[in-house]
Amino acid sequence: MIILQHLLNGLRLGSIYALIALGYSMVYGIILLLNFAHGDIIMVGGYIALIIIGAGISPAIAVILSIVGCVLLACMIEKVAYKPLRQAPRISLLITAIGVSFFLENVAQLIWGADPRSFPYTTIIPSINYEIAGLKISLATILTIVVAVASMVVLTILVQKTRMGKAMRAVSEDMGAAQLMGINVNATITFTFAIGAALAGIGAILYCCYVPQVKPTTGYLLGIKAFVAAVLGGIGSIPGAMLGGFAIGMAEVAVNALGLSSWTDAVVYVVLIVVLLVKPTGFMGRSLNEKV
């Protein structure tokens, strides 16, 4: 029974990682950029929700506004920092992404201070516990898993069935050829960032309810873990990101359950290193061959 309880916890954490990993995966799939700022967008989303709820406005509006805020922020970052570097070497793009991530972290620290603030999670999701056959399930756990799975289903439909999704797949296949076919590449890339950020916004609320606190460095470790999840599942693949997210969440909960909580982060990095060395394409990724 206790194993099932941990399993449930792992599912909850894993579905949050999966949501965030999707943002990484999609952006990487389309412009081959490891968007370090993705985690920090989540942190900003958390603070937005915190402030709006603190002002006494209803939590539903807070959730929507924080998702909108994340989307706007991501589009702005893409326009200002990444777009001028589209033709630049990959290393410049990566350094810029690190710069953006640090900028967000430090600005947040200036505005809101370095100390963690507790997140009013009960106003967003009331703390109700159900008991099914001796298993304690909180409403938050059910909601997290349901919302995450629903988001992924919507995303899959979006990518596979709509015109924009087709454009996204085309651009990630071959940017030059897509442009020749009359696809607006810039708009498609911005749209991808926006979708990734919307998922990050949802992830932000769910994560802040889980922890439950926000601090300027929230995004850093979360971003790394989500990235590990994306790599584990195969970067660029949507089902892969979900699978990777669940795997990392489970692994983390398992390590904690064994009483080794100070080693949790190390385990995540070890998983990352092993995956990169043994199967860099992950569970479901396709391999890219370098051309001369």
């Binding site: 350094i95 690190i98 991530s101």
Partner: protein
């Protein structure tokens, strides 16, 4: 046409060595003479330490063209090795102890460099960056958890303060000399060839893995030395000093100075370390300014402030003697007429 004046190679060495020695001796006299405030002295020592870190990271980022994000990890290995050894050998004469500590710190970091480099360098670009980040963090987590040896989060205290101006800047000069010499040998040309085009370099018979691991190890060696100097400068060590932020700090200096320019690295390390001294009211904005600088430099001048330019002291003196210091350089072909 008159043949322009050139120094012979031994003369160049003597001039460079003499000027460096003069700088170190004068610096030691001035700093020990108490010409500056304590805070200024501390910044000067930090500049020396950061010069070593930046020049060593530049070797991997600028010359080899890879992007490791775990430089602080090597620094941590060196720092703890040096500090523990120094504490153990405190009874020995201080020179023996310092030398032993620095060399052991460097070697230990180089061993880690090889251990991490062999698997990590199989990957490229972003994956290399992220795997070195992972290794760097694992080193830090191990330091926190192995509290019996490293003191854990409360820190390692009472380390002998061995990092004087003389020690730090001699180490910095040796670092620059060794890396400069490597880069101007055939090994250096091989490393540059890998940066320019890995596949072409491979086709020319350059052993990619060997040179990558070699560069990584040399870079880690000096990062370790810098770490030990950092320990000797602070007198105490905390795992928090070696987090991801620290690696980025060094990276900012390399990028700002120009990836592939040793002069750029030295200038950027000096300016950015001295910056808080000048902008005292802005200390809380420092990291914001750093990150903005990083973005702006990447967008407007991706090659950094110095590009790949490197200067030579004797070259400048030669130009002055030939009376064309401020004139445009003539093409090489014209001189042979």
């Amino acid at each position: 046409m008159k043949k322009s004046f050139r120094f012979s190679v031994p003369t160049r060495y003597i001039i460079n060595f003499g000027l460096t020695a003069l700088f170190i001796i004068c610096g030691t006299l001035i700093v020990n003479g108490g010409a500056f405030k304590r805070a200024t002295n501390a910044i000067i020592l930090q500049i020396g330490i950061y010069i070593i870190l930046t020049v060593s990271l530049n070797m991997v980022t600028g010359y080899l063209g890879q992007l490791p994000l775990g430089h602080a990890g090597f620094m941590a290995v060196g720092a703890y090795t040096g500090a523990i050894l120094w504490k153990a050998t405190a009874a020995m004469p201080c020179w023996v102890s310092i030398l032993l500590g620095l060399i052991a710190a460097g070697l230990m970091a180089a061993v880690f460099g090889v251990l991490i480099g062999i698997p990590a360098l199989r990957l490229k670009g972003d994956y290399l960056a992220i795997i070195t980040l992972g290794f760097g963090e694992i080193i830090r987590i191990c330091i926190i958890n192995l509290a019996g040896i490293t003191g854990g989060t409360p820190g390692l205290l009472n380390i002998p303060k061995y990092s004087s101006f003389f020690v730090v800047f001699t180490a910095a000069a040796i670092t620059c000399y060794v890396i400069h010499t490597i880069m101007h040998s055939r090994h250096g040309r091989a490393i540059l060839a890998i940066r320019e085009n890995e596949i072409a370099a491979d086709a020319c018979g350059i052993n990619l893995t060997y040179y990558k691991v070699f560069t990584f190890a040399v870079s880690a060696f000096f990062a370790g030395v810098a770490g030990a100097l950092f320990a000797g400068f602070q007198g105490s060590l905390f795992p928090k000093s070696f987090d991801f932020m620290a690696s980025i700090n060094i990276l900012v200096m390399v990028v700002l100075g120009g990836m592939g320019s040793m002069l750029g690295s030295v200038v950027a390390a000096t300016v950015l370390t001295a910056l808080p001294l000048v902008l005292q009211g802005l200390s809380e904005y420092r990291m914001v300014i750093y990150s903005l600088l990083l973005i702006i430099v990447m967008i407007f001048k991706p090659s950094g402030l110095m590009g790949k330019y490197d200067f030579s002291l004797t070259g400048i003196i030669e130009d002055a003697i030939n009376g064309r210091l401020f004139r445009k350089k003539r093409k090489e072909g014209a001189e042979n007429e």
